[in-house]
């Protein structure tokens, strides 16, 4: 077993950092079990817990006095009691906070849509803070007429609304050699699910006119990393969007404001944020992010490249290390399933480490290449559980175990780890990331 760093990097003080990190997670889990408390990156906040003065037969203050008026919060925020629901990062994973990643708190969410402020972030040179009046998209290369678009121009193309998940290819990448990060947010939180409003990339390309022989696009961001990838023309013409809204409002700065590429079902790195340029060509560019990174090193020392599609995957988000079981009796197991190749058709859940499985109840909309919510309602008598979930998609793909995945891919591929996750729930409800036989 080894510890995986997520950036070109490994911690010089790995052991101490890791100990700090794991201690923090553990403390958070235990506190959460006892009530609800916020902790963020080791900075403890004042605990918020129950207060009998507010409970029957007493009448709480909020029932007696006037609250804030309509002018107090022009842009609403979550309740202060939800302050612990935040993106978190793992400091030792990367050398800097600008070329780094944070994670969606999956265990705090329900339904299928990820709130804009909780969508995980992955930047290569920090966020670009772009004035939309100055933003330009240039389309050039093998086109009849190179074009330049303002945001107003882009918004005059026909618009489409689609819900898609975006998963970083490195999601669960730290788990290839065994259970490492003790939290669902950290093992699976590099995924989010958003309704995008945008225009078809196809329409924009056809406006410039695609020349015969054009097979690839280089898509490039306006950030200080100039994030660039090669995208096959076929995919560009099929279903990609240039999006300017997420969940109804403008893209968040950290998600590519004012314009990002949406590449349904494919690894997140291709979804170029702050997109400024599309060059049409006849071969891939072999950019750093599709050669040095985002290629999958196999056991024989060779590497798969252009592994674009995200394989079907699922995870139980509750219970999980940050969301232990609190009481015996009626409980709800819930989680998320997704596939980069189509709709999720079924999710199986086991409570005994894979000896017996049951079909979970899927609820909420099931969209093509979108997160899909599942539930298992069950009675817990305090017995130890080994909880797993297994996703099926409409192409017939069945999510493999980590053992099966390693048989093909070895342990050094970093990316595309879609193996089945196991949580050990102890008799006291405490939940832990484990691997089982």
């Amino acid at each position: 077993m080894t510890k995986h760093a997520i950036d070109g990097s490994a911690s010089p003080t790995g052991h101490a950092s890791r100990r700090r990190f794991l201690t923090g997670t553990l403390a958070g889990g235990l506190v959460a079990a006892g009530g609800s408390e916020a902790f963020a990156q080791g900075r403890k906040k004042k605990p918020i817990g129950p207060n009998p003065d507010n409970q029957p037969p007493n009448v709480p203050d909020w029932s007696k006095t006037l609250g804030d008026g309509v002018a107090d919060h022009p842009y609403g925020k979550p309740s202060k009691y939800e302050a612990h629901v935040v993106r978190r990062d793992v400091e030792w994973l990367t050398a800097s906070r600008q070329s780094s990643v944070n994670f969606t708190p999956l265990h705090e969410l329900d339904g299928i849509i990820t709130p804009n402020g909780l969508c995980f972030e992955r930047h290569h040179g920090g966020t670009a803070d772009i004035n939309p009046f100055d933003h330009r998209l240039i389309v050039h290369g093998m086109v009849d007429k190179p074009l330049i678009f303002s945001m107003d121009d882009i918004k005059r193309f026909p618009r489409y609304n689609r819900v898609y998940f975006l998963e970083c290819a490195a999601n669960s990448g730290m788990e290839w050699r065994g259970a490492q990060l003790n939290g669902c947010q950290f093992t699976h939180g590099m995924v989010h699910n958003v309704m995008y409003t945008g225009v078809r990339l196809r329409d924009v390309l056809e406006e410039a006119g695609i020349k015969a022989g054009a097979k690839w696009l280089q898509v490039e961001g306006a950030d200080s990393a100039g994030m660039n990838r090669s995208l096959p023309m076929q995919k560009a013409l099929d279903d990609c969007l240039l999006a300017f809204k997420m969940n109804g409002e403008a893209l968040r700065t950290e998600q590519g404001y004012p314009l990002r590429l949406v590449v349904p079902g494919w690894e997140g790195n291709l979804w170029v944020k702050w997109i400024r340029r599309i060059e049409v060509g006849d071969m891939p560019w072999q950019a750093r992010e599709e050669t040095s990174k985002y290629t999958d090193l196999m056991a024989d020392g060779r590497s798969r490249r252009f592994t674009f599609a995200m394989d079907a995957k699922s995870v139980v988000t509750n219970p999980s290390p940050e969301a232990p079981l609190k009481v015996k009796g009626r409980n709800i197991i819930t989680g998320l399933a997704w596939s980069g190749r189509g709709k999720v058709t079924r999710v199986d859940v086991t409570l005994d480490g894979g000896r017996n499985w049951q079909e979970a109840r899927i609820d909420g909309p099931v969209f093509d290449r979108s997160l899909t919510r599942f539930y298992v309602d069950f009675d817990w008598q305090g017995q130890e559980l080994l909880v797993q979930s297994r996703a099926h998609d409409e192409t017939g793909y069945v999510q493999p175990s980590k053992v099966e995945l390693r048989k093909v891919r070895g342990v050094n591929s970093i990316y595309h780890n879609n193996g089945i996750q196991t949580w050990l729930v102890r008799a006291n409800g405490e939940t832990e990331n484990v691997e089982i036989s």
Binding site: M1, T2, A5, I6, D7, G8, S9, A10, G14, H15, R18, L22, L26, L93, T94, A95, H124, I138, V139, P146, L147, I148, F157, W176, A179, L181, E206, E207, E220, A225, G226, N228, R276, G281, W285, Q286, R288, K293, L297, G301, R302, R304, R305, F306, D311, D348, G354, R355, N356, W357, Q399, P400, E404, V408, I414, Y415, L424, V434, I436, S437
Partner: protein, 220 residues
């Protein structure tokens, strides 16, 4: 307020230009023709076949002081990587090892990628600040650190960069999951009495079985 006069001027210019360069080639008439100087200023990419390489030149020897001044504080004097910053050199033959070291020399398939990436994204926090001559020189120096260019007087330029042979050029193949992982499709999903017993093999919390982060693979 000062913005408006300029906007008005811009609008006037657009109005003059419109009849000449009317919008897109497509049926919607959206956008306007990009001017050659606009494209040139933003078109910074370089392909393995050399397309996109700007005029310029630089030697290994010229690259050394630039590297030491601009790059070594993160990547180390010899490209060995400081703290958690990427290692650029070494790792030859390590790709099948338990601890692969993926560097420019051991892993990157194309020399053009070094030029392309350094030009667009480096130095970290001061992107697009090196001149094209400096980029050729730094690229030559990084290739020298990896023993790919051995002669320190070697001059890398627009016409020879694409001919540099990288050691791991043949180490990549296109996604073959639909063939090599075909058994994941239509796999039998056992539902009852699937195995006799289950053992916990490893736990995230067992700190002593998780070795030091320094030896882990990298994801950035």
């Amino acid at each position: 307020m000062s913005r408006y006069p300029r906007l008005a001027l811009a609008a006037a210019l657009i109005c003059i230009c419109l009849p000449l360069a009317n919008a897109g080639a497509g049926k919607l008439g959206l956008g306007r023709e990009a001017k050659p100087e606009e494209i040139k200023a933003w078109d910074i990419d370089v392909r393995p076949d050399g397309q996109g390489l700007p005029p310029g030149k630089g030697t290994v020897a010229q690259g050394e002081p630039i590297f030491q001044e601009q790059c070594a504080s993160c990547h180390g004097e010899f490209g060995e990587g400081k703290d958690r910053w990427p290692v650029l050199a070494g790792g030859h033959g390590s790709l099948t090892h338990d601890r692969p070291e993926k560097t420019v020399g051991s892993f990157w398939p194309d020399a053009s990628t070094v030029f392309d990436y350094v030009k667009r994204a480096m130095p970290f926090g001061n992107a697009q600040s090196l001149t094209d001559d400096q980029l050729y020189a730094v690229t030559a120096y990084i290739l020298n650190l990896n023993d790919i260019i051995k002669d320190t007087t070697f001059e890398l330029n627009q016409s020879n960069l694409a001919s540099i042979k990288m050691p791991n050029k043949g180490g990549f193949y296109d996604d073959d999951r639909e063939q090599t992982e075909k058994h994941f499709w239509g796999a039998k999903a056992c539902m009852k009495d699937c195995k006799a017993e289950t053992k916990v093999l490893n736990r995230a919390r067992m700190l002593d079985v998780t070795p030091d982060a320094k030896t882990g693979p990298r994801v950035d």
